[in-house]
């Protein structure tokens, strides 16, 4: 049948199973939006307040569902507004397809109105990108975009489509859903070497990253942990890859990981890194990291091997397949060390409130965990709120923690929570925010209201940019440069009301349970917001200063010093 380019775009989206897209209309995508109008019974489009929010929403949708997220933006500023969202997805290997309009081919390169070279701009922050200058290439390019986004180490792909291409018509025959490329061909030698090291070791320690979630390998990871009889830590991106109620889980590893995890790192004789890229936020000093252990690195991306830390041996391929093959090669172990580590009390820090602000984020998040049974999807902004969410919510399932790990994008969480809720309407979705991050992209409350996407926005308000303040306290002589937000006098209840979002305040410990219960009840039908008032000097602990060895984390910060 003869179809226009814009109809072909929608047909391709539907063939790829993308029945929900996020975006924002504009001049260069008028044709695409005309097709979306025509296909509105088959494809749901959610307009956000800003293209950045749309990109984060598509990202949150992808993280929560495992499907490829789709975002549409117009040329010029619409396209450049996607960049932070694309870079966020790229750093965390999240599959996205971004479709941008551009000026017609005859206007390209002439500094035309709302023209920007978005393929040039996004080259370093996408897995790949395309500009389609011939309608004959359109369908195939879109298929390829989905294939690339979802294959191997996943990532965002951008397809830039000039306006005349969306208007042109051509004979279209459906090409069928694209199939991701598999990486199951794993070297037997590498598996055997890893199995041998596991058989020989006495103190194995497993460290799981986001790759476990990306390849749906939670079951295989659990099996490996049991067979090896090893304690397990997850990276920030790996939160939910391993059931945190399991006795073997010993907390996050890295800058704000547990004291126990740091102790395990330094006393293990075999460190098994699975689906991880050994981020600088985890390894601290690369020359010291895991020096008492042999390191096995299992990952789909060989470029990560020996990039940040030198490892003893590697297993390259899909993590799920690799773990499954590895588990078949090892026999049940029993390590006295594991029981010792699990049983020993390492004196993990507990957050304390003040007289004026008795509530701590720890108390609120632990209560939220209890009331939701650890089954909610938690998205976060970036900074202290993010670390507290990761530390105190006990994640049981993969795809339940949605957070910008690599890029550390403040303003990510609200949009992402909207995407996550759209993808998983049956789940409770809570965005844990700080007041700084909230102010960046609070415009997306409008989206939550307008589309009735019942998320809970929890703003932990300390009136400071807390994480930066924490560093200023420790390393900059308490020069709290530009991080005190006292001049802002935001009334969150009124602000919420203006957007049509019912808002509650937690300021006393007695408020925590009733407010959370009420919010959880409301969130069954509509979005709501909670402001949690806390003291400005509650720090994220434990802490390893950047670039320092992961040994003896700071567990207390003297505010008087």
């Amino acid at each position: 049948m003869i179809l226009s380019g814009s109809d072909i775009i929608v047909e391709c989206l539907l063939e790829e199973g993308a029945d929900t897209v996020f975006g924002y209309p504009g001049g260069a995508v008028l044709n695409i939006y005309d097709s979306l109008y025509k296909y509105s019974d088959k494809i749901r489009h959610i307009i956000t307040s800003h293209e950045q929010g749309a990109c984060h929403a598509a990202d949150g949708f992808a993280r929560a569902t495992g499907k490829t997220g789709v975002v549409i933006a117009t040329s010029g500023p619409g396209a450049t507004n996607l960049t932070t969202g694309l870079a966020t997805a790229y750093m965390d290997s999240i599959p996205l397809v971004a479709i941008t309009g551009n000026v017609s081919c005859n206007l390209l390169g002439l500094d035309s109105f709302q023209e920007v070279d978005i393929t040039g701009v996004t080259m370093p922050i996408t897995k790949h990108n395309f500009i389609v200058k011939n309608i004959k290439d359109l369908a195939l390019t879109l298929k390829l975009a989905f294939k690339i986004a979802g294959s191997g180490r996943k990532g965002p792909v951008l397809v830039d489509i000039p306006k005349d291409i969306t208007a042109a018509e051509i004979e279209y025959t459906p090409l069928g859903k694209s199939e991701p490329e598999r990486f199951d061909d794993i070297s037997e030698k590498e598996i055997e070497e890893a199995a041998k090291l596991i058989a020989q070791c006495e103190r194995p320690y497993i460290y799981a990253g986001g790759g476990v979630i990306s390849s749906d390998a939670e079951k295989e990871l659990a099996r490996l942990a049991e067979l090896c009889d090893a304690p397990v830590s997850c990276s920030l991106m790996g939160q939910g890859a391993f059931n945190q109620l399991d006795r073997r889980y010993i907390g996050m590893l890295g800058m704000h990981g547990t004291v126990k995890a740091a102790a395990a790192l330094n006393s293990c004789d075999l460190f098994i890194g699975v689906g991880t890229r050994f981020s600088d936020r985890v390894i601290g000093d690369p020359n010291v990291f895991g020096k008492n252990a042999k390191i096995i690195h299992i990952d789909i991306d060989p470029a990560e091997f020996n990039k940040n830390v030198e490892v003893y041996t590697t297993v390259m391929g899909d993590v799920k397949t690799a773990l499954s093959r590895l588990c078949d090669k090892i026999s049940q172990k029993k390590n006295a060390w594991t029981d010792e580590i699990i049983a020993k009390d390492f004196g993990e820090p507990v957050l304390k409130g003040t007289e004026a602000f008795p509530v701590t984020p720890e108390a609120v998040i632990r209560k939220l965990d209890e009331l939701t049974g650890g089954e909610a999807v938690i998205s976060t902004e970036v900074g202290q709120n993010q670390m507290w969410a990761a530390q105190y919510y006990r994640f049981k399932n993969a795809r339940s923690f949605v957070s910008s790990g690599g890029l550390g994008t403040m303003g990510f969480g609200l949009g992402a929570s909207i995407g996550a809720k759209v993808g998983c309407p049956e789940k409770t979705v809570v965005n844990i925010a700080g007041d700084g991050s909230f102010a960046m992209n609070l415009n997306e409350l409008i989206t939550a209201y307008a589309h009735n996407i019942p998320i809970i926005e929890m703003v932990i308000n300390n009136n400071v940019l807390g994480m930066v303040r924490q560093w200023q306290r420790l390393f900059y002589n308490k020069h709290f440069s530009q991080t005190t937000l006292d001049n802002r006098h935001i009334d969150y209840v009124k602000l919420g009301e203006a957007f049509g979002i019912e808002t509650f305040v937690i300021e006393k410990n007695e408020d925590i349970e009733p407010v959370l219960k009420k919010a959880l009840e409301i969130s069954k039908s509509k979005p709501c917001m909670i402001e949690v008032k806390i003291d400005r000097d509650i720090n994220v602990l434990p802490m390893i200063p950047a670039g320092k060895p992961v040994v003896d984390p700071i567990t207390e910060i003297d505010l008087e010093a």
Binding site: M123, H128, D301, P302, A303, F305, K307
Partner: protein
């Protein structure tokens, strides 16, 4: 230890590919000495010869990061390869210079391609070391302009 390596990269021949590859080198802080790209016997495939200075760890990173680019099909670190460079050079400030330069050119089998009153333009193809020593000999006469192609290379059978 850092040393020079010659990479042969097979990639899609489209207008963004050189930007993708050179962009990768610059953002990951890889040192590039020279880069040379041209179409191959298959018009949709181009072959790039890239000379890099790196230690083994960085070399490995360069190879693996290049292979992650969708447009890159193959990366070979060439060990036993025929390496050639092409140079066009104009030198000399007097008629006397010109005669001496022709003598040197004959030794190196460089070919005169344009002769002016005082200066002469030569072309020479050869191993990079040969080009270097040729240049050293011409320097005293004053090099007016020159262009080096950078290394191109193919592995021996």
């Amino acid at each position: 230890m850092e040393q020079e390596y010659v990479l042969s990269v097979k990639a899609n021949n489209n207008n963004g590919v050189l930007l993708r590859i050179s962009g990768l080198f610059s953002r990951r802080c890889f040192n590039i000495t020279s880069i040379n790209a041209a179409e191959t016997e298959e018009p949709n495939i181009s072959r790039l010869t890239i000379v890099v200075t790196a230690d083994l760890k960085v070399l490995n990173q360069i190879k693996n990061q290049l292979l992650k680019l969708y447009d890159v099909h193959e990366v070979r670190i060439m060990e036993d390869a025929v390496k050639r460079e092409h140079i066009l050079i104009r030198a000399g400030r007097s008629e006397e210079d010109r005669h001496k330069i022709i003598e040197i050119a004959n030794l190196y089998r460089a070919k005169p391609v344009d002769v002016g009153k005082d200066s002469i333009m030569l072309e020479l193809t050869g191993e990079p070391l040969k080009i270097d020593s040729f240049l050293d000999l011409l320097k005293p006469f004053g090099i007016i302009k020159m262009v080096r192609s950078g290394i191109t290379a193919l592995e021996r059978d």
